[in-house]
Symmetry: C2
Subunit: 496 residues, 2 copies
């Protein structure tokens, strides 16, 4: 590795070409890329192109070049600014993850999670442990994308210190471009060795098989365009071939808690109306106070509700939120994904709904749809749902590492109770809207659902994000259970 | 109007009731509200509840009360924070408009556009003219919502100065709630008369037939809940009845430019390839420079492309963006709305795609779909599309008043040219994906489309956001035309 450049770039072969030869190859490659658009659309391949590099290395120019022959309907360029105060109140990867493309489209990230991480490290916002942890999260994020069919192409545009200095100087001299040079650019120049060291470290640590880095030499115009065009063309071909194969299902590596099987849960629990009213009132008062404390401490809470139809999720959530200041929580009802959601990685719509620090997000049905309805109705492949246990465990690990309290409820009833409630809904005019043909159809599949739920709870009941099976034949009992579990979880988090 | 309260509240009748009578009425009203949820869902009524009022007047508590019996799947509470620096780079109403509910749901705004306006006026950010202008924009926004089937219920929670002071004091004393009291709250107390004057003025100026204000007395617990519940119940009934009737179509009140009918446009314009290449290169160079200037001056640009299928929109846009720094523009391909978009006011998805100051947004098909495809395919009612000309003129007026340059292109070809291009696409393997059965079906309707386009251009070709009909039988000619029009428009905006 040279002293000034980031690393050895692979231009040697190409460098020997004459200008004319170069032009011809470039033209061919560009044509190939333009033609691949149709392929990408047909194969529904989503393409993430991350362009990182030294400031003023020509990232913007490179992107402009890459997109010139692409149909504007199929790509987006997304510049990465320093995070806003709102964005800082969500997990680091959130704002990047929100911008991934849908199937059949490109997104070009004009720098992204690498740059943000390096800047944070240089600025002393990340100690060694936090940096290592963040790089690991990046690897998980990129691997989840590639496992879910994304092409993730990562380019680092390298220029020498002299070159960078000259480019920045040129920008500053022209009054129309002078505004582009900011403090950070000058800081990069001044402390170039330090930046180089951290860039190198981060690139090394996130250089994975599925999403490797390509360091390209930005100093010779023409060469870099050719290289990156070629990388894109190859990457697309490789990804399409790869997506024909099932992805390996990893072994579990998270600490699991044991839970009873649904069939073994005692459903004969109940409380009297008097006890219920008294305990609920007390619990709501307590929760309200805790909500204020959470807010002050900036701790986010994520409460996930799953359960049988008519188990009483809605009423249960209502008692939970009855205690809360409406400004500090959101209930997210989750039904079948809309088209724009279906066209992205299945966790994407949940990334978009994460709470801010100090806020509570309640999910009425959740990402567990992947291993229940999507599995059983065939909305995803077997490989997809089998992989999802691990993806979900990773997702929830990221949330708890961020500082969130994650609580998951399975609201449980038996088959007879469901029938009684369905029948009552059917016979009560004000409740008829709550029952649909689909509910009856799902009921017929009770046994396969039960098996899937048992598997789900066994495989995702982690210590950091445990499942709670809540007997709800008596709804009043269930409401007390859930609110008291939430209170306990918050109290122990606050005690830390 | 009293000296300390905002205005006379309508509680006199209710105030005479005994506590027991009050409780009974309240219970009945709440039950009615809970039952109305089904109605709202069936009728697909979207409900905006704007809760404004003095700080510490109990807005949050009121909202918590209102939602207690509502199914959390059907409402959202959205607190309004001071605008972020990102939000300040979009039109004032943007961040509020983005949060309107979809059909069949409630959104409770915990203060919103009134408070933001009043604070801006108090802080001296709005002079008399700008304030008047903003209030007018609010009226247009609310009227567009109600015309499009929304219930807009506006509540102002009034408390006396003494009461407000006491409430703030109570919050400050408790360490769990002290953080809730901010500078603004104290400022309101200190300059209460000034705030009252501006609140009063704004309420008066935005007190319209379709979205009137309801000032309610927040000082007596129980009464306010009853009043607001009652207002909601009445409002929902009224809105559902109102939505059975067509909305009046307003006369045009915007300055129109005259444009030729499509049939009268000369399509025999062309350039040589040499002239094209030379002029395009010059134009792109110029546009690139202007883009930098726009950025520095913070002027947003909105370029709307409409035109016949195969007229050459895509290639035209590509030449426009070929000149631009990819970080400063976005191309928005617009196709049929997704479900979550269809469930909201038709301009909503364009509000969401407005550029930031200094950025360029290019729309490949636009909001004009309302008066073309939606009109001709019956995707909206006759009343809807007839009203849309005015709604669009208002929308674009708001954009240009904000400072945007709005340029609209109709890319025009004749029927024979379209046929030739369709046939070529069909016969060229790499281009087949560009042509669909729908294109052929649309072609059969050429004449009715032409009539609709003539009407559209006549009714929305305003002076502030003019239409340009671009002959595109020769695509090269068309590309030069559009880029040169954009350059001229930017140059004259910069000269102002």
């Amino acid at each position: 590795m040279g002293k000034t450049k980031m690393g050895k770039t692979k231009t040697t072969e190409i460098e020997r070409l004459s200008q004319d030869e170069l032009k011809k190859i470039l033209k061919d490659t560009r044509q190939k890329l333009a033609l691949q658009q149709q392929l990408i659309k047909e194969q529904k391949l989503p393409v993430v192109v991350l362009i990182e590099g030294w400031s003023a290395a020509g990232k913007g120019t490179l992107i402009s070049y890459l997109i010139r022959d692409l149909d504007p309907r199929f790509f987006q360029v997304t510049p990465t600014m320093p995070p806003t105060s709102e964005e800082l109140r969500r997990p680091f990867l959130c704002r990047h993850a929100e911008r991934i493309p849908e199937a059949g489209k490109f997104v070009f990230f004009d720098s992204g999670w690498l740059e943000e991480t390096v800047f944070d490290a240089v600025d002393g916002k990340l100690d060694e442990m936090s940096l290592a942890h963040r790089l690991q999260e990046i690897n998980v994020f990129e691997r989840q994308l590639t496992d879910n069919g994304y092409l993730v192409l990562k380019i680092f545009v390298d220029v020498t210190a002299e070159d960078q200095a000259a480019r920045i100087e040129k920008l500053r001299k022209d009054k129309d471009t002078a505004w582009r040079v900011n403090e950070r650019d000058l800081d990069e120049l001044k402390h170039r060795e330090k930046y180089a060291e951290i860039f190198n470290h981060c690139i090394r640590e996130t250089n994975t098989d599925k999403a490797p880095w390509h360091v390209v030499d930005g100093s010779q115009k023409g060469l870099i365009e050719l290289q990156v065009c070629g990388l894109l063309v190859d990457g697309i071909e490789t990804a399409i071939a790869r997506n024909q194969q099932p992805v390996e299902i990893p072994q579990n590596q998270f600490p699991l808690k044991s839970n009873p099987r649904l069939a073994d849960v005692d459903l004969n629990c109940s409380v009297t109306r008097e006890e219920y009213e008294q305990r609920l009132k007390e619990a709501q008062k307590k929760l309200k106070k805790l909500h204020n404390k959470l807010y002050r401490r900036g701790i986010p809470v994520i409460i996930a509700y799953e359960g049988w139809d008519a188990a009483g999720k809605g009423g249960n959530i209502k008692r939970m939120t009855g205690a809360l200041d409406a400004r500090g929580f959101t209930v997210h009802p989750i039904s079948a994904p809309d088209t724009y959601e279906k066209n992205r990685f299945f966790l994407w719509r949940f990334w978009k709904r994460l709470p801010k620090t100090g806020h509570i997000a309640i999910f009425d049905r959740t990402w567990y749809g992947r291993v229940m309805v999507e599995r059983l109705e065939g909305f995803c492949s077997e490989n997809d749902w089998k992989r999802a246990y691990n993806e979900i465990n990773e997702f929830e690990k990221m949330l708890t590492d961020w500082g969130a309290i994650v609580i998951k409820f399975w609201i449980h009833i038996d088959k007879d109770t469901q029938l009684a409630r369905f029948t009552e809904r059917q016979n009560t005019p004000e409740k008829q809207w709550k029952i649909t043909d689909e509910d009856w159809r799902n009921r017929e599949k009770w046994d396969v659902y039960e098996q899937a739920v048992d598997e789900m709870i066994a495989k995702t009941g982690t210590e950091y994000a445990p499942w709670h099976i809540i007997p709800s034949n008596d709804k009043l009992y269930a409401r007390l259970q859930t609110i008291e579990i939430v209170i306990n979880a918050i109290e122990s988090a606050l005690a830390k």
